[in-house]
Symmetry: C2
Subunit: 625 residues, 2 copies
């Protein structure tokens, strides 16, 4: 029978068309990246965060009055300082884990699987949020350029997620070339925008009356409490997401891997800091600023307002370039999560914390179940929050800083355990400082964003941690229970085949041949649902039944199932060492919709018989043309 | 193992709780009805139609101007005349078919299965529309009393359908007592309303200025074309739906069945005619009338406007009584369809026009699949038309009159075939007149309502007729193809068991015992997805594998399936007369969510192997606690 005749061929062909042909395991080679190509691959997630971080800070400060907005540049400065510290500590991780030092691995190895699980849970939540936030920011960047698209934020975002998921299901490699254009394009765009902006800004001078959300901010009062400042700082911490990606991906670099990775990390941090400070300063030159979610009829992001200012309007090449490049780099940012989440979940599945299906690689060498899970979770999140960035952002950053803190603690344990190389005490000290700072920032974020959404993440982490522990316990229990050394139940010593006969046709006769091969003393069983048809069945069986006895069971409740159950139970009672195969002939057809025309007795029997230990239900299929 | 330990027990318990315990076939006795109880059971569908028929007539006439509304009473008169004629012809059907003479049976028996199929299709469409229209009218009757509920028309209707479907799945008998209260309550309510209304109307006199939709209709012009009159007549023909229910249900009456059924038919017709004329006359006394779908801010039905007039306001017992009784009798009207549709579809399935699953009675003695199908189809219709009666009504009545016409043609064939009893020529003549009238009305309805919605029904009928014919042809083809007399394929002469081994545990060892019982020379097959685990598997197999050879298959594409397919194909090539059983150990657990933790290899193998004629995939399940 040729492939074209196989009923599953259509399914197979669609599958191949969408996902491409299988790739053998031997091809599982990673493209090694130079620092120039490594920057776009690993920095897209982090660098793209400037598209929302400054705006998020301002959106909080404005709650203290328009005057409070002047604090923005100081908050941005604090964030830049924090970025520097964390990047510095991550250099140590890169050196210590040249094979890749994500939080899950560092904590599992150095502290223990329970703490590792917490880090893993935090990272999983973080990846889902990265996809949701980045795709929503990407869609918002687009709708800033085309405000008429704004009502379609959710469908645009979900199509975006589907596209990235599909590319990853096909097994897009983290290809440097693919990433280089949007990332470098974005960088060139932003820095050009900053240059034009400062040129124009210095020419015009700081405006006397900056209008914020339509009100004059110049003489406006502002009351900046410490809590408000901390909230603004927490909002700005979204700029730090993605900073650990380089440490995760050290083996992807060309040798010397660690050195190249550190180079990329440094460049990333410098670029991010420059953009954050640049945007933070330039905002002060804008004569008009509108902030989400308050008054902003065109739903323009701050970046696109800056672009409009710098390039002198919303209908020029520069303005559209910024919009498209921002949208593109944010799509790439989701791709980073799509590369890391399935890998992380495969590690966790391998360690027994997640269903084994997540550890299985598909025929395109990708962990397809992890990709689908991430896409669905992120889509649900985007849909629930209507694609609005200002609703999604408060959820962000808690889990990131939890993972950072645990990673630092892991490194502390690492140094204390190894007591090497030379100078480990200094490295230990760096990680202690890092752990204290990350832990403090995490607590600040948790408390200041608690009611805005951080509580959801806290609850979610508890649920995930509990669920993953339960899965681990379940697998351990199964392994113990199934260990052959723990003693085996008595095995059946004889076997009987029962052939289900509804009426006599070729399919039944084919199944009869099979039943006789399994057991020459097999029995045929007919359940009478229709008394009138019984004589026909008996007559035909006499003719075609090859002397196999036909057992007739009556069915007072018109069920096919109950009489068979009772009969099987009777046989098992008479001989407890009997194994029974119930053989059900089943029609199959090349057209799926024909299924509706046929009964599905086998699966019902299977469901009802599955508690009988030595009973197997087999379907013998016969093909219909 | 007790019932409580069975994994399917939870499902079973929910099933029992919702639907009740099984009922044995021997209990399939029908309650026999006296005429007093038969009237509510069989007339609810028909009598309830006065809740929308008069309003439907007026809604058409008003298109010709307010003055055109004066023609309403003449149209109502014509409808009453038509009711009388059709009822008269149905008396003959009742006498000729004391075992029940629905259109499907009468036409199939007397003309042939193809015409019968057309009648059956028309009736199926009609039942779906009956449920949709009646439930929408029921919900509208409720929201007329409580206008604030009007935005929730669709959910109310769908809950209503679900309730009636659920009652029917439990196997509600067409219990006279259940039907008597709403039906007689409705009749008492309507006639009391008419009495109060005429009292008040005669006291006040016909109002000089009747305001219709806020405009003075007294001096308004109206241009009544013949087409408009025919359209209004078609709209009124919705009052004739359900008239055939008595003829369908003759055997449900106490003996003498035919006589009692005719008595009920006559009473039904007299009551309907009286209500139609009564409502039609009383409308003229109303000082204010609002008509759907034009200006009617409170969405009150005409009946509830009459009730408000008769009882002097909308906050009194009489007004609410009419609302609730109308809603209740309309719910019962859907119940008639829920009783008849599954019965009809079981006849049609028995004759091979519908999937066999529709002919199967559940353990509560009801045709559960038919009930579900009807509920879903009606719910989709209600949802699509937003629960608005004025959008649903134009679809109605075409299929009813098609069924009427075919039934009359069937009776004509019946008399010509039998040429008995005495005086059959007179009966033939009655049915010829009936056929001409019904056919003419059908054409009038089809043409006048064509663009409003009748075209949908026409298209649907063509689709259903074609689909049902295709199903019949398919079943016939299968029966021919599977006839054992047509020659059998060569049977396999030997058998080999293959046991799939992923790792060695108790479940696998249990399956091994089974595999050896089926075939003492069975083989174990291991697909290496993880090279590192292979030595462990080989070592364990040596220890527990009872000397059964372990075949190791490598898998370059990490698929469990492809290597097995290739191996099986190799065995089949070597010996074409071989039957192969692939045995897959499968974990089962009492908790359904544990399923996610286990792979589902068997169903994948099954799908891929189903085109191999002599290969059977068997799962040997092992229980986990």
């Amino acid at each position: 029978m040729s492939a074209k005749q196989r009923p599953w061929y259509t399914y197979e062909r669609i599958h191949r068309f969408l996902l491409g042909n299988p790739i053998p395991s031997s091809k599982a080679l990673h493209e090694r990246l130079s620092p120039k190509l490594g920057l776009p691959v690993f920095a897209a997630d982090n660098l793209s965060s400037i598209s929302y971080a400054t705006e998020a800070i301002l959106a909080i400060l404005i709650l203290g009055g328009l005057g409070a907005m002047r604090m923005q540049i100081w908050v941005s400065g604090a964030i830049v300082l924090l970025i520097g510290i964390i990047a510095y500590t991550y250099q140590q991780t890169i050196r210590a884990y040249p094979k890749g030092g994500g939080s899950y691995i560092v904590t599992s190895e150095n502290i223990g699987p329970r703490v590792g699980l917490l880090a893993g849970s935090a990272l999983m939540v973080d990846y889902v949020l990265t996809v949701a936030v980045s795709i929503a920011a990407s869609a918002t960047a687009l709708t800033s350029a085309f405000p008429s698209l704004h009502p379609h934020l959710v469908p645009i975002s979900i199509v975006g997620i589907a596209l990235v998921a599909w590319a990853n299901l096909r097994g897009v490699r983290e290809s440097g070339a693919l990433f280089a254009i949007p990332t470098y394009g974005f960088l060139v765009g932003i820095f050009t925008m900053l240059a034009f902006g400062f040129w124009r800004g210095i020419e015009q001078g700081v405006p006397e009356h900056q209008m914020v959300n339509g009100q004059d901010a110049y003489h406006a009062a502002g009351s900046v409490t410490l809590f408000l400042l901390l909230r603004a700082f927490s909002a700005g911490c979204t700029a730090l997401t993605g900073i650990e990606a380089v440490a995760d991906g050290v083996p992807a670099f060309k040798p010397p891997e660690a050195k190249n990775a550190i180079l990329v990390l440094r460049w990333m941090v410098v670029l991010l800091a420059a953009m954050l400070l640049g945007v933070g300063l330039l905002v002060q030159f804008l004569p008009n600023v509108s902030l989400l979610p308050v008054e902003n009829p065109e739903h323009r992001t701050l970046i696109s307002q800056i672009a409009a200012f710098s390039f002198g309007g919303t209908h020029n090449f520069g303005f559209y370039l910024i919009a498209f490049m921002t949208a593109a780099i944010l799509m790439l940012a989701t791709n980073t999560a799509f590369a890391d989440f399935p890998r992380l979940s495969s590690f966790m599945a391998r360690d027994g914390f997640l269903p084994r299906a997540l550890a299985r690689q598909g025929d395109r060498l990708v962990f397809h179940n992890g990709i689908l899970l991430l896409a669905i979770a992120a889509a649900v999140l985007v849909w629930h929050f209507k694609g609005e960035l200002d609703l999604l952002l408060p959820l962000y950053a808690v889990s990131v800083f939890l993972a950072f803190t645990l990673s630092q603690l892991g490194m502390i344990a690492h140094w204390r355990r190894l007591k090497a190389p030379q100078g480990w005490q200094r490295r230990l000290a760096v990680n202690v400082v890092g752990a204290i700072i990350c832990g403090a920032v995490m607590l600040v974020i948790l408390f200041t964003k608690f009611y805005e959404g951080a509580w959801i993440i806290a609850v979610l982490l508890v649920i995930l941690y509990t669920a993953f522990s339960a899965i681990k316990a379940r697998y351990a229990f199964i392994t113990r229970q199934l260990a052959p050394s723990s003693g085996l139940a008595p095995a059946p010593t004889s076997h009987r085949s029962l052939l289900m006969v509804s009426r006599v046709h070729k399919g039944v006769i084919k199944a009869l041949e099979y039943a006789r091969l399994l057991d020459p003393n097999c029995l045929a069983v007919h359940v009478t649902l229709n008394e009138k048809a019984l004589p026909d069945v008996q007559r035909d069986w006499k003719k075609y039944g090859k002397e196999v006895p036909l057992v007739v069971l009556s069915s007072p409740y018109r069920s096919l199932i109950e009489p068979v159950l009772d009969y099987v139970d009777g046989l098992l009672e008479a001989d407890p060492h009997l194994a029974i195969t119930v053989i059900v002939p089943e029609a199959i057809s090349s057209k799926p919709h024909h299924k509706l025309l046929h009964d599905n007795v086998a699966s019902q029997l299977k469901r009802h018989l599955l508690s009988r230990p030595n009973v197997v239900v087999s379907t013998v299929r016969y093909l219909l043309d």
